[in-house]
Subunit: 362 residues, 4 copies
């Protein structure tokens, strides 16, 4: 009997989502003769509706190099705490039984859940409730455990590095400091790797609260040594020693003229305060999440998609695909969720950055 599987993508955007979908469909439909159903807008499409469409070979034609996800995604759709309107109020309600019912309704034998920490936690709970799930890890910030790296991250590092390359040539013409704010709420991987690749002078990450005085001193030393400019890369989640994460959070929640404006502007203002130099800010924002995935991310995504179908074939539910060394393997979803994969403040990568002469905020 032909199998039917379903797939959904959850959480924020990430280059490579379409490549995962394509890998799943090709491995299922083309190689095995199964059917694949695409669930729209993450778990929302199973809570509501169900909103589902057939993913045949035509549906995935040409999507490999495209950013975004043809299935849509959702940040809010946690079926165990779903915003339900009761009268005029909205209350977070457990609607997981509706998800299970809808899943039966669409007639699928298993679900591929592509997403980050939140999506994978939900997937595991649904798996415990009897909905057979295989996970595919996704995080642009590279902060998931259990896998050496996730797709999308390589693309994001590429976007930031290109911006840093451009800043290098223009920064030279005046005594000037450039502050580049990049993604990374909890983990500083993007700032750290793109900072190394793009030859930043200062890298500020959430894992190492920064001492602004030392940052200013480092920039001053560069200037006094004849360097015309300095480039600072700051994770959006970086924060000053003693400052706590409030700065970043307040910026996050309240976008507006009277309010803070992100760590980039904060650091810029601090540097202008302690040094008499022009400071300019670049905020790359969602540019880092979009666009065609890099070849690395396309390959990894394709391998993840193909492997997910293999795991379903083997009945390895509750598992998640992962890259370890050169191999794509299966790990328990539990290994990935709960704890984040953070930069080790004393690990090889930070030490490499410091050996290269990069100031890391301490």
């Amino acid at each position: 009997m032909a199998k039917t599987i379903a797939i959904l993508t959850g959480g924020g955007d990430c280059p490579g989502l379409n490549a995962v979908i394509r890998g799943v469909v090709r491995a299922a439909v083309l190689q095995r003769g199964w059917r694949v159903l695409g669930i729209e807008d993450g778990f929302d499409g199973l809570v509501e509706g169900p909103r589902v469409r057939e993913l045949d070979l035509a549906a995935i034609s040409g999507i490999l190099p495209r950013g975004g996800t043809i299935l849509g995604t959702s940040n809010r759709g946690n079926p165990f705490a779903y915003p339900v309107k009761i009268g005029t109020e909205t209350k977070l309600t457990d609607v997981s039984s509706r998800v299970l019912e809808n899943f039966r309704k669409i007639g699928a034998d298993a679900l591929v859940a592509v997403g980050g920490d939140g999506t994978l936690k939900i997937a595991r709970r649904l798996n415990d409730l009897g909905l057979p799930v295989v996970g595919v890890p996704k995080t642009i910030d590279n902060d998931l455990r259990g896998t050496d790296v996730t797709f999308g991250y390589n693309t994001a590092v590429g976007v930031v590095t290109e911006a840093l390359d451009r800043l290098h040539t223009t920064a030279e013409s005046h005594h000037r400091v450039m502050v580049v704010e990049v993604m990374g709420r909890d983990a500083g991987w993007i700032a750290l790797e793109s900072g190394i690749a793009g030859s930043a002078d200062v890298i500020l990450i959430p894992e190492i609260p920064f001492d602004i005085q030392r940052v200013c001193d480092a920039i001053a030393r560069r200037r006094d040594g004849g360097n015309r400019f300095s480039i600072v890369v700051a994770s959006e989640g970086a924060f000053p020693l003693g400052g706590g994460k409030t700065i970043q959070l307040s910026a996050e929640k309240n976008l507006g003229v009277e309010r803070l404006g992100g760590i980039g502007r904060f650091v810029a203002a601090q540097i202008e305060g302690c040094l008499d130099m022009e400071v300019r800010v670049v905020v790359l924002g969602h540019v880092q999440r979009g666009g065609s995935p890099s070849p690395f991310d396309r390959i990894l995504s394709s391998r993840f998609g193909v492997k997910a179908v293999e795991l379903i074939e083997q009945g390895a539910f509750g598992k998640m695909v992962a890259l370890q060394g050169r191999s794509v393997i299966a790990v328990d979803i539990d290994e990935a969720v709960g704890n984040l994969n953070l930069v080790d403040p004393h690990g090889e990568l930070i030490r490499t950055a410091e050996a290269l002469g990069i100031m890391t905020g301490r």
Copy 2:
């Protein structure tokens, strides 16, 4: 007798400056056997010092694809109003005689001045005072008259368009508005052309004061028509109807936590005010000025450099090289300076944008 010519680059950075320098050196040294002297940091290198170095073929090896300028540049260096410290005060002083003297000292027969409105005005005055000058127009914003286009602009449009391409794929996943702040203090060319190339939904330029209510209405119509996202591109010099340019200026001068933060954040806050949608801001800043010049800019810069040497050979001083149609020609520097090349609010390009369905703020 072998000729000696000097060259300087003034004003802000612009991809293609090195290609102009290379064109001048190759046409002068290689083709004519002349000497070329490079003046450092714009007119500063003639007020001070003189700070000058020989530009032989080795000095320009490999610089064609490099952003920035090997000669450095200066924004402040107006010899007719030069900041001179007298006691504890700094006073703007006419030091043009020092420039003329230093120019005689270095023994050059003519000067190639590469720069924007400011640099070219100075060049023309110096030419009137007997220093033989040929101008090469430069403006990343494309706001100089007398030439169809200047180098650097094509590269900048490319940077913004790539960012817009990336935003398109990621914007789709949520109901969301993206505001991208781009260069263009007085002229909206970069916003307009990259907005067309990158399929923006709204383009706000200094030449058309925008009606924020109409902007919100346009975005609401898109949302109600089923579009998940809208992309707004705003020149840094754009301003609201009745608002005046004060918004932008105050942001410009005073970077700091408590203050405004540029037109991008202003527009974002306004849209959040009138629509219940998430708004995200991207500020590309100096990323637009840097990096390797596009092929178009490399060719135009090379042609400009070669033509400048031809003009010197012909004794056509007080002239500036320019592109008109397919030809690089000479025009009077006077034609370029004084009045800006602005977007015609009723011209073909704006009408094309509107025919494509782009909202232009009115």
Copy 3:
């Protein structure tokens, strides 16, 4: 009464075709409330079938940055000499009456024909026969008259320049010659402009039959002067002095192991014959025709599409859109067809190349 217009794309691929189609549809459907019909595979879709599909706003969503053409194209489809099978033979037959009949059948009021010399000639003849046509010029080689430049060309120059940039860094490590074969059957624009932008040492174009001995001498001089490498860019239509175009044509028609292999390999073999240096060949082929159009090409294509609809509105049939200086205007199709826009062997661009020290085969 609402107007209905049709559009077709003919000839070889060219980045920007989709942008033209989108410009036509947006200006017609969105701005004017007209209908647009897309004819498939160039004139073939009017000879056969007719094969036609509605182009509404959904049909063109997202196509601006995509290479190729959603309508397909045809190289053979000349309705005045169409290959018709009669018995076992294929005979070129005038089937233009069928085109006129099919055009009436689909109920369109006018046709936008996007194509090169061949397509535009057919368009003009059909216009003379009473089918109201507006032309949009297209040629990757930039060899059409009547317009300063056509879309696609800028993208192609970009592809070649990027390849030349890459070759520069790797060529340096050994005494070696790199020969890069690029597009340009009759006109050398791509070789010439990308050669200038990518700092080629030798540029060979169809307009200047090359003297292989002088080419070898130039490379030898470079080597003896301490340069480790030389880069030769050759148009596919370049040919040696006295050699005639036979070399290139025989390569063109008959691809196979025993046969020639294109001008790139020919030049490489010749250089290996006269100099004791390693020679390597790069053949970029159709890579130059594909991929996302550059911002320049997207804007130009969009303007062309919008202008074509304006011309139909004005009843300006038999005209073609064109770029002259900064303006998109209308010219008679006659101005574009028949004679090619070739590189002037004594014009400013070649002289610029030579002033930069580039050897041009003579």
Copy 4:
């Protein structure tokens, strides 16, 4: 006492060589106060001369994003079999004692040898003879053992993938086959990974001798299924079943009009022989070896350079830096040399390709 170390780069070009050099210099000079000497043109600079120059911080300024190697390289320079002219004959002679002597002469305490199989073998023999060596693995083809991946490879895959992306849009317009010849003498990694990333239809690699009839059948099936085009990626070292590697070798050695022309043209001719379709060939050649290293390669190279200095500090001679999983570690040079890292014809990556529907020649 301050240490002095030397560094050389051997073998073919590879993006990231400069980043390794920079990593070594920064870690040695900046962090440890050592001196670094750069040996020119691989081992040649130790056989001759010695040709050596000081690598201080200024010498490596700005080289991180640059392709090639500032030190030059050599393919021939095996000191154990060095071409020495004796009378009119050239004889391969063991000149290793001269290398040891010259190394003593320049006063270095240890050598960092960056190179592939050949360079590393030499390095290990010299280490056995008492010259303290640390190796850094380099191979554009990714065919070295002992490390998960080497720098340069990611960049090469990027170049090929971009070309394939371009071909996709243009291939669609006619019934046509595109054959792309890529690097990979012995190992098919570049063809395989870029083929997956660029959505090739057929991938031919040296590890799987191809059956041309099956290749033709696969293309015919695609055509009959309505696909307008097929893209074939072939490693330069791919060869037909029963054919042996002679085809490729004869093409390699003898470039010329009358001769073969590489596997690309061979495959194209074969396909034209069995199918009535147009076939076009793209030969990317050295474009794959050049240009700015990708962020991935810049980071890996920097880590390798920093780690090499650490190994010297620890006295871990005869070792080579390597990436395993997420860590840069040390392995014996012996682990890397002698046997190649080939694609496993039954491994996960090939199976992924086949699951995606790619034909692999068998």
